[in-house]
């Protein structure tokens, strides 16, 4: 060291790599998945049926090939998902030969918790609490999620390996340092880790990767004539007979698609002509609004609502 500076080598010493941006992201995600499989006691991969989950599943199949992913997949079903999602989920699990667990908060179902009457409490009970119950039930010590840092501001602050205490709570002010590729997976009993292999991907990366790898995704992402209701400026799909209509609301046919998927009464579609992957990628690259605008639940409680829910154990 000279004057407190470590002596460095020159650029010319280094060999280059021929990998492009998507290949680098893919390799990074696979490295993370393999680290978890090698070091964590009981991992699980959260599967939400959305496009990010489809990419995660695809990466997991690649990461461990020719072995099947050495962990099960877990879907937290709120019972209000789009019907197409459930069909797609079951077909995918069968086709890929993976173990797919489903968890429903039966207490919530018994009490008739629904997105129309219960607002924020619905998300808490059927998603956050259901997830906590499921993780406790199986005793998973590490759970993969498809979260990306470009989605939302508190996610942008989160580590790839994100620690949760025995109450599944996140402490954003005291995150473990995460240096280079040296992930520290040590935990005490009762604690767990959420792992986000897609942290460094953007929405555009996801779509370009889906197109390049021909990854199957739910048809809801493609524009099609669908029966919808306009509510507070959002386009809501009337997916089944449980859809309630307010005064003056009526079901109409519109050519729409969805940028994100969740519970159908809480997910806004966009009017679009994009019915091919190429068209979707074009539309994504030109988008002026972030994808989160189509998730109604995230806007409850202002800009910090995601952090609040994460502190309480939301993914």
């Amino acid at each position: 060291m000279k004057n407190g500076f470590r002596i460095q080598k020159n650029d010319t010493d280094y060999g280059g790599s021929s990998m492009d941006h998507l290949e680098e992201l893919e390799a990074e995600a696979i490295y993370i998945m393999r680290e978890v499989a090698a070091e964590c006691e009981k991992p699980v991969m959260l599967y939400s049926v959305g496009k990010d989950s489809s990419v995660m599943l695809h990466l997991a199949l690649k990461a461990f090939y020719p072995e099947k992913p050495p962990f099960p997949f877990l879907h937290i079903n709120t019972t209000w998902k789009f019907r197409e999602m459930i069909t797609f989920r079951d077909e995918t699990a069968e086709k890929m030969g993976i173990e797919m667990l489903e968890y429903i908060n039966e207490d919530g179902v018994r009490e008739g918790i629904n997105p129309f009457d219960h607002g924020a409490a619905y998300t808490d009970i059927m998603k956050t609490q259901a997830l906590r119950q499921a993780l406790d039930l199986y005793g998973f010590t590490a759970a993969f999620g498809g979260g990306r840092r470009d989605e939302e501001k508190s996610r942008a602050k989160e580590r790839i390996f994100s620690f949760r205490d025995h109450n599944h709570a996140w402490d954003p002010k005291n995150q473990r340092p995460e240096l280079w590729k040296l992930y520290n997976t040590q935990i005490h009993r009762g604690e767990s880790i959420r792992v986000f292999p897609l942290s460094n991907w953007t929405e555009a990366d996801i779509w370009q990767y889906i197109r390049r790898e021909s990854i199957p995704i739910v048809s809801l992402y493609f524009a099609k004539e669908r029966p919808v209701v306009i509510r507070d400026g959002n386009i809501i799909l009337a997916d089944d007979e449980r859809m309630r209509l307010g005064p003056g609301e009526e079901i109409q046919m519109k050519k729409v698609r969805f940028r994100t998927l969740g519970c159908y009464p809480l997910t806004g579609g966009v009017e679009s002509e994009a019915d091919t992957l190429d068209a979707i990628v074009q539309e994504t690259l030109a988008a002026v609004e972030s994808e989160r605008t189509s998730r109604i639940i995230d806007s409850d409680g202002g800009s910090a609502s995601m952090e609040k829910r994460k502190r309480e154990g939301y993914f």
């Binding site: 470590r6 020159n10 280059g16 790599s17 893919e26 499989a37 090698a38 090939y65 280079w180 609004e289």
Partner: protein
């Protein structure tokens, strides 16, 4: 055309305007979504009196950050211009959160260090510059900010340029660029400012779009740390990992480190596709032509400068609230290897302000120190200058599990170089045949009072009756003699186990059967014992539960521990790491000594 990716960080002292700079850059370059812009415009109205836009709100995402108006942790932002993809890590300026700044620095290839034009180069500016260099960044941009507050005065800028030149004078192989900017007013951010005609260089964003940074150092030859072994069936055994350097083709001969065995490459998979060759950075699976002993932590190499050893010297950035003193023991992760490690010696501390090497006995949070580290087993590594991946490490606290330091390897320390192993004529095999037995070690682990010594005693009596030559190494007894100078801190516990294992090994070499009874609470220590003793090793877990041990409390130790009279007593205030796959498990609850001895003897029958 495929655009490349630049990962960079912003750092510098608190209130130098890092978040504002990036926020303004994204805003001016129209790189934010409409809803994010609306939210910022709305939130700015809430906070500031004069209704000006607060660009930092685009980045400071945590509630505590917005409340206190500071950055606590790294925020990652992703944006794309016509020329390049960018990931920027906006890091905190407070000294308190230096470790979060280091997190950002470890991932970046370029840093933008902000300097307040009205304040000049501060201690925190210097600290961040030194940490960036330590973490391997070679491209430095000093953005001299708040030029609007000094009336865009060239003299102020030149004064800072001089100070930066002095600061960076000793930093070899580093490229330095200074740019005068105003983050709030937007001068020299996305385009050149008309208010500083005296500045002839580029504005910040155009500079970032065109600067050539090269790639981080991967090292010479081909190298890959094995992450995991893939065994879908009896026929396939592949080693998975991400090569740190070089390229490899089917048919090439690899060396497996630390063992040194050589094997030819039979097959390479890139993801799920069979390929003829692979290279640095890809997620691959390698199958070897011959059955070779390879597990996680091994490194597959070809023509590398990799070293194998149990001691190295490294610069550490200390990040824990608990201070570092020589003798502290940790778990160390280097590549995919996790081993026990002890900081043997603090050679000196680096003064972040002056760069001077200062002698120090204690290292406090956020300080840089040059240390000697001894590892519990042989580790494959390289210097950080040769290889980023094989030359970087973290230290983890054994109790809190926190990552308490990160470090870069400066050199290997070779200790046993002037010693050579003498092969003697009377070998272990000869001694064994003369005694008419096979030498082996039974390693008994379990809580205090679990019954280890009692069982060992009974087993030895029976072996003696069978005409076998035996010896018991009892933990307590050894501590009264050979290990009298050792305490119960983690470092001493490791040394205690190491000596017992070495003695057991000597006795085995003398042809004796050894029964070692010791609490040996840590898995890595028991692994070390197994490695020292070698093949003929049987691990016996005396699994008597804590409640039962405490009820017996033959030595009165549990009572004393509960009363707080014994610090770090295994099971009470110290951890016991249960064996993952012991060869024999004996729970003494409700069993007679004879019964337990019978169980043990049945388990070692193959040696008798």
């Amino acid at each position: 055309m495929e655009k490349d990716l630049l990962k960079f960080i912003t750092c510098g002292s608190v209130d130098d305007g890092k978040s504002t700079l990036i926020g303004h850059m994204l805003y001016d370059a129209k790189l934010i979504f409409a809803d994010q812009r609306r939210a910022m415009e709305l939130d700015s109205g809430k906070g500031s009196a004069d209704g000006r836009l607060d660009y930092s709100l685009l980045l400071d995402g945590l509630m505590a950050e917005r409340e206190q108006g500071i950055t606590i942790d790294v925020a990652y932002r992703y944006f794309t211009t016509r020329r390049r993809n960018f990931i920027v890590a906006d890091t905190p300026g407070h000294e308190e959160y230096t470790r979060n700044m280091a997190v950002g620095a470890s991932f970046a290839s370029l840093c933008v260090i902000l300097v307040d034009a009205s304040q000049g180069v501060l201690m925190q500016t210097k600290r961040h510059a030194r940490i960036c260099a330590l973490m391997g960044i070679r491209h430095f941009v000093f953005a001299v900010n708040k030029m609007d507050l000094v009336n865009y005065n060239q003299k102020k800028f030149e004064k800072i340029r001089k100070d930066v030149r002095v600061l960076m004078a000793e930093a070899d192989g580093v490229q330095v660029q200074l740019i005068p900017v105003s983050a709030t007013e937007g001068d020299n951010i996305t385009e050149k400012s008309v208010r500083m005609p005296w500045y002839g260089g580029p504005a910040l964003l155009p500079y970032l779009e065109t600067v050539e940074t090269g790639e981080p150092c991967g090292g010479r030859g081909f190298s890959m740390a094995v992450q995991r072994v893939c065994r879908p069936n009896r026929l396939f055994r592949g080693f998975q990992g991400q090569p740190a350097s070089g390229s490899l083709a089917v048919g090439d001969i690899l060396t497996v480190l630390p063992g040194g065995q050589k094997a030819a490459v039979a097959e390479i998979l890139n993801g799920d596709k069979s390929v003829e060759r692979c290279e640095k950075g890809q997620a691959v699976t390698i199958r070897l032509a011959t059955e070779t002993d390879v597990s996680r932590g091994c490194v597959l190499g070809k023509d590398t400068t990799l070293k194998t050893g149990s001691m190295l010297a490294a610069y550490l950035l200390w990040m824990d609230d608990k201070n570092l003193v020589a003798g502290r023991n940790f778990r160390m992760k280097l590549g995919t290897q996790t081993v026990p490690a002890t900081v043997m010696k603090i050679r000196h501390r680096v003064d972040v302000n002056t760069g001077a090497e200062v002698s120090a006995e204690t290292i406090y949070k956020n300080e840089i120190a040059f240390c000697e580290i001894s590892m519990g087993s042989r580790v494959v590594f390289d210097t950080f200058a040769e290889s980023r991946e094989h030359g970087s490490l973290i230290l983890m606290d054994r109790l809190s599990n926190m990552t308490c330091a990160c470090g870069v390897v400066e050199q290997e320390i070779v200790r046993e170089n002037n010693l050579t192993w003498h092969e003697m004529d009377i070998t272990r095999e000869l001694r064994e045949s003369q005694m008419g037995q096979k030498a082996f070690t039974v390693w008994m682990t379990g809580l205090s009072g679990a019954g280890k010594s009692t069982i060992a005693n009974e087993v030895e009596k029976r072996l003696f009756a069978m005409g076998k030559h035996t010896m018991i190494l009892d933990g307590d007894n050894v501590r009264m003699g050979l290990n009298k100078n050792l305490g119960f801190g983690e470092e001493d516990r490791i040394e205690n186990i190491r000596r017992i294992a070495q003695v057991a090994k000597l006795m085995n070499d003398a042809g004796l059967i050894v029964l070692a009874a010791s609490i040996s609470p840590y898995r890595p220590d028991r692994r070390m014992a197994r490695e020292i003793i070698g093949e003929n090793f049987t691990e016996v877990y005396v699994s008597t539960p804590l409640a039962e041990c405490e009820r017996r409390d033959t030595k009165g130790l549990y009572k004393a521990a509960r009363a707080g009279e014994i610090a770090e007593f295994t099971g009470i205030s110290g951890v016991y790491e249960v064996p993952e796959s012991p060869d024999i498990v004996i729970d003494t609850t409700g069993r007679s000594v004879e019964e337990c001895a019978g169980l043990l003897l049945a388990g070692i029958e193959k040696y008798l």
